[in-house]
């Protein structure tokens, strides 16, 4: 992979440009240990924090340090994925998701929500807000393997988003919100209502945070472009 042409961050050292960095947020120490190990064994760099507030602090999005937004300085942290528990005191995973999607600096980062409860309205709400995926706990290795599919380092995402922009004109969220969607549980739910368009409709949902309600009848162009992307096609066939 040629990283020179697509460097979107200033500070990518050669040795870590291929390793994904995941920010894991969970108030449970047991769960933090498990998710940390799951990610490390899947060759990811992990930063685990115990609250949404700490996650925002780490990203530099908290009230005290408004550096990142204003002067365009990108710290060396380079987070490729954020995985967060839903039920946390003070700030829920959903609230954290909203804050991240509201930030111009970080809204491209895929956010995955974990929850021990399989509550459909909750899942819907998270996906509508822009969550990439929703995992029902306990988290397993197979879940993390699935995440790796869209946990590629920023350089590759930039490359893909340029590809997709060339092949279609549908709405991405801003300048790079085109990411593979593999909402297995969401797909299972939507399979009955949407025939061929279920993956595209969820992808439209997730990539543009401004969309507030799911519309099963997404534009035909979006489905064409989704199918045009080989990665998405693979994902669609590989969900079980």
């Amino acid at each position: 992979m040629d990283t020179d042409s697509f460097v979107s961050f200033d500070h990518v050292s050669p040795e870590d440009s291929h390793e994904v960095h995941v920010l894991a947020v969970d108030d449970s120490l047991v769960d933090r240990k498990v998710i940390e190990r799951l990610l490390k064994i899947s060759a990811c760099k992990v930063t685990a924090v115990d609250s949404g507030i700490r996650a925002l602090q780490f990203l530099g999005l908290d009230e005290q340090r408004r550096t990142s937004e204003s002067d365009g300085f990108v710290p060396d942290l380079k987070v490729d994925l954020i995985i967060t528990d839903y039920c946390m005191p003070e700030m829920t995973g959903y609230e954290l998701l909203k804050k991240i999607k509201e930030s111009t600096m970080f809204r491209e980062i895929p956010v995955v929500i974990m929850s021990s409860e399989n509550i459909l309205p909750r899942i819907d709400r998270c996906l509508e807000e822009g969550a990439e995926d929703f995992i029902v706990k306990p988290v397993k290795l197979s879940d993390v393997k699935r995440l790796k599919g869209y946990m590629t380092p920023k350089e590759v995402i930039k490359m893909r988003s340029q590809e997709d922009r060339r092949s279609d004109g549908y709405v991405n969220g801003g300048d790079g919100g085109v990411l593979e969607i593999n909402n297995k549980r969401k797909l299972e739910e939507q399979d009955t209502s949407d025939v061929s368009l279920s993956p595209p409709s969820t992808s439209t949902l997730s990539s543009s945070p401004s969309v507030s309600s799911p519309s099963p009848s997404s534009s035909p162009t979006s489905s064409a472009s989704v199918l045009a992307s080989p990665i998405r096609r693979l994902k669609m066939t590989s969900t079980d």
Binding site: S28, L29, V30, D31, K33, V34, R37, L38, I41, C87, S116, K137, P138, V139, K140, L141
Partner: protein
């Protein structure tokens, strides 16, 4: 001869695990934890389980106190935590009791809560004893295997 001992202990360990699975005390999430243990992280399972024990004991103490105070909502929150960590380590029976317990708190059912707490304490104790047994066998096996292959 010593190698034979290690094999016997290995068989003991597997027998105990099979028993615990059969009884529904543990589920496949525990196996998942074992898969995460390797040379890089040789004590992963016992580390996580010990954290779990430590947290669980605090939760149980708090639950007892909250039940006395009839703080059902707070109990619900504690139970969510207990449920979450129990399911993360594969403690199936404990998780199930937490679910039933939480239902009782949702209804502010004091008698139901008392029964559930008793059951939770019982299941938790049983789990703890069995896991300690498992870790002991594993330690013995490591010792015996170590003697067989001197460094």
């Amino acid at each position: 001869m010593l190698g034979f001992g290690a094999d016997l202990l290995w068989a003991d360990m597997n027998r105990l695990l099979a028993f615990l699975f059969h009884q529904g005390v543990l589920d496949e999430q525990f196996l998942q934890l074992q898969q995460l243990q390797d040379e890089a992280s040789p004590n992963f399972v016992s580390e996580v389980v010990n954290i779990y024990f430590h947290e669980s004991e605090k939760l149980l103490t708090n639950l007892r106190g909250l039940l006395m105070e009839r703080e059902y909502k707070k109990m619900g929150i504690h139970l969510n935590q207990f449920m979450g960590s129990s399911s993360s380590i594969g403690a199936k029976r404990v998780t199930n009791v937490c679910v039933a317990f939480r239902a009782a708190t949702d209804q502010s059912n004091r008698a139901g809560c008392l029964r559930a707490l008793e059951m939770l304490e019982h299941e938790y104790c049983y789990l703890k004893n069995k896991l300690h047994e498992l870790f002991q066998i594993e330690q013995q096996r490591a010792l015996v295997a170590g003697v067989r292959y001197p460094v």
